[in-house]
Symmetry: none
Subunit: 412 residues, 2 copies
């Protein structure tokens, strides 16, 4: 079954908000065997909305609409839909009572326009709204399904989960299950070359690459009968991909790099301290996003000034003068230094030039050194990054997490 | 001129990401007199994409496409568009050279599929991509305008700003100019009550409030002829709003709170050091997002453990034991301590419980103390925040920046 998600709302076309409802619904529907083939957004305008309904009903079996169910004058979704399907709007007593109760409960006067929300197309399945005043509904018409849900995500989501998902579960004969694989350290095209034969012969499961800043993801998707187990068919393909990509594949299950690193540190009980220069606390901040990290994260030190590098980390004046703050020598001293003052298992350091200022011909913007010290050794890596300040900082943080991950993943 | 934004990408239809590109573009286009009437999303499928192009060219004058310009097999936007407009794909030498240089710079092998990205429909205006390998283009065909941009927002946005906006500016007869006002410390409804009469009598400029986590923004929008000056008409309204909201209005011009604070610190040459506990480096990280901050930002210390608080900041064992790490006493000692060790003009501290664990009946999750020390005094503030870990951390950071802003804005 092909679905289209049709959102109604001028606030979307003005860019005030992103269409997160479409994202949410798209993410959930495949589980019940419904594939989303189109999203569209149109304003609160009956003529244009009717055109969109015509297009959607030509190309999709299921139309899920969000928005335009409010009490104000510009909320015209229901009127337009009822005209489109040729059904009268009739008063739904139960919804009317609920709206009246709702206004009593919040102790505000109810205006007539609120009762408008209790009118629904004749013969539709009503979707109760426990969080607001606008009920939704499901209309079945000539083999097509049309669903209306309110726009606010806090109302839409529970209505979708409590009524729409079970409705499709009942109807579905198969389900679609996906797993997200995350890769760091190989570019999108290089990765594709490594698994091209798998992608090309894909039927079930399918494999789809997707790149975002510095990272690549692969989505492996299997379609199975409603009562079958999809795990096995997914795992076969995932294992084959893992063989090809090795430890560049860092997560199966959509965990990001800092989550993987944070959980590794916690589960292996490896204590850590971080000394940052150009990332200015970004690495500490991301790592401390992980609940429970306080068990292993001892401290982070953001040493922007040379004195701070000397005082907090014991970096020697001689080295700083000879090699400069942005050098592998300083990175190594910082990593060993932060480990020593914090008495942690590992110490990690970052020093570099995030720009836009501060670059020279010899040490350009984007030159970054990262280092990791443990009880046996100090390893380092030189990065040459492009882009603006925010990209350089983000790419540096990703490289730091990847360095930690590769270093500790073999440990017991 | 009516525009449609047509995004190509299965990752959108699978709900992996929200269509933030459509939001961004929709937000920007009206400034050059272009109204966005439709958004659509379709997968990486040539047949369905061609149908969408047909629909879009029937109902819009301008089609802005995002996504599908990558090097992989499923990136078919350009092939489909060139077929749709009946133009050959030809090699754009300059883009080819840039792609080759790009791979040299990042020191990775270039694969053949990358060269595919340098092919563009014949006769199109090429849009340079400084952040990635996929150039975009503008095609003018029978009075319609078709624009292709890559999907990653970090590439799309600068290309849109540097080429697409100026392109429409050139064409437009009038312009819509907005100014974003940012407010911290007053809720959305309280603020609305303070300026309700202004909002109600609005015609030109219009005033639209919009709330996001912890902050409220007002967009003031004027529509004027292309060559007219919109500044005066905007400023009249802005000054009236400023009178009502006082110093809770912290920025005119869409600068965020950390930018305002960073620039105040730099312009007044006030040196700063930050000691963070529950925010884990978030405040340092945001402050060091500001270019040039190294002139005044001395260091940040993320003291997760009690020993770190003692060793790095000189917080006394007695106070820690008596009042606990999350207390106004510890916050005050941390602020004074980080100022002392760093020899800066001001020292700022944060200690609190971000959750989900660590809360007690007496000190629940969301209890945070922030403090600021200068040469004369130490001020502090107790926050009681709700929400999850990430919201608590974000709200804490905003409150810290607001505290710094209010403290230093009177200084010379």
């Amino acid at each position: 079954m092909k679905a289209e998600i049709l959102a109604v709302g001028t606030e979307l076309l003005m860019g005030q908000i992103a269409n997160t409802n479409a994202q949410y619904i798209s993410n959930r529907l495949p589980e019940e065997g419904v594939g989303v083939f189109y999203h569209s957004v149109v304003g609160d305008n009956p003529l244009r909305l009717k055109e969109c309904l015509k297009i959607a009903s030509n190309r999709a079996d299921i139309i899920i609409m969000t928005g335009g169910l409010g009490p104000t004058l510009d909320d015209l979704t229901k009127e337009t839909v009822s005209e489109f399907v040729g059904r009268k709007l009739v008063l739904h007593e139960e919804s009317k009572n609920k709206i009246e109760e709702y206004f009593k409960r919040i102790n505000r006067p109810m205006v007539d326009s609120n009762i408008k929300q209790a009118y629904l197309p004749e013969g539709s399945i009503v979707i109760e709204n426990k969080r607001g005043t606008a009920p939704g509904c499901i209309i079945e018409e000539e083999g097509k399904i049309l669903i209306m849900l309110p726009g606010p995500p806090s109302e839409m989501k529970p209505m979708f989960e409590d009524t729409v998902m079970p409705y499709f579960k009942e109807k579905s004969e198969f389900k679609i299950v996906s797993e997200i694989l995350r890769i760091f350290g190989i570019g999108e095209s290089a990765m594709e070359a490594m698994i091209l034969d798998l992608i090309e012969k894909q039927t079930n499961p399918t494999i789809a690459p997707y790149a975002k800043e510095g990272e690549v993801t692969l989505r492996v998707t299997a379609k199975v009968n409603k009562d079958d187990n999809a795990v096995e068919i997914l795992n076969q393909t995932i294992n084959e991909i893992r063989k090809r990509l090795g430890d560049s594949l860092y997560s199966v299950g959509d965990k990001n790099l800092e989550q993987v690193v944070g959980e590794l540190l916690i589960s292996k009980n490896i204590s850590i301290a971080i000394a940052e220069s150009c990332t200015g606390g970004l690495v500490s901040s991301r790592l401390t996003d992980i609940p429970g990290i306080s068990a292993v994260f001892n401290r982070g030190i953001v040493t922007y000034s040379n004195e701070a590098k000397q005082e907090c980390l014991g970096v020697s004046v001689g080295k700083l003068e000879k090699f400069g703050a942005v050098s592998k020598e300083t990175a190594i001293e910082m990593a060993a230094g932060v480990r020593k003052v914090s008495k942690t298992d590992i110490g990690v350091s970052i020093t570099g030039i995030a720009g836009p200022g501060g670059g020279t011909a010899e040490k350009p913007v984007g030159l970054v050194y990262i280092a990791l010290a443990d009880e046996n050794e100090v390893i380092y890596k030189e990065l040459r990054l492009s882009g603006d300040r925010s990209r350089i900082r983000n790419m540096t943080a990703l490289n730091v997490f990847d360095m930690i991950r590769r270093h500790i993943s073999g440990r017991k």
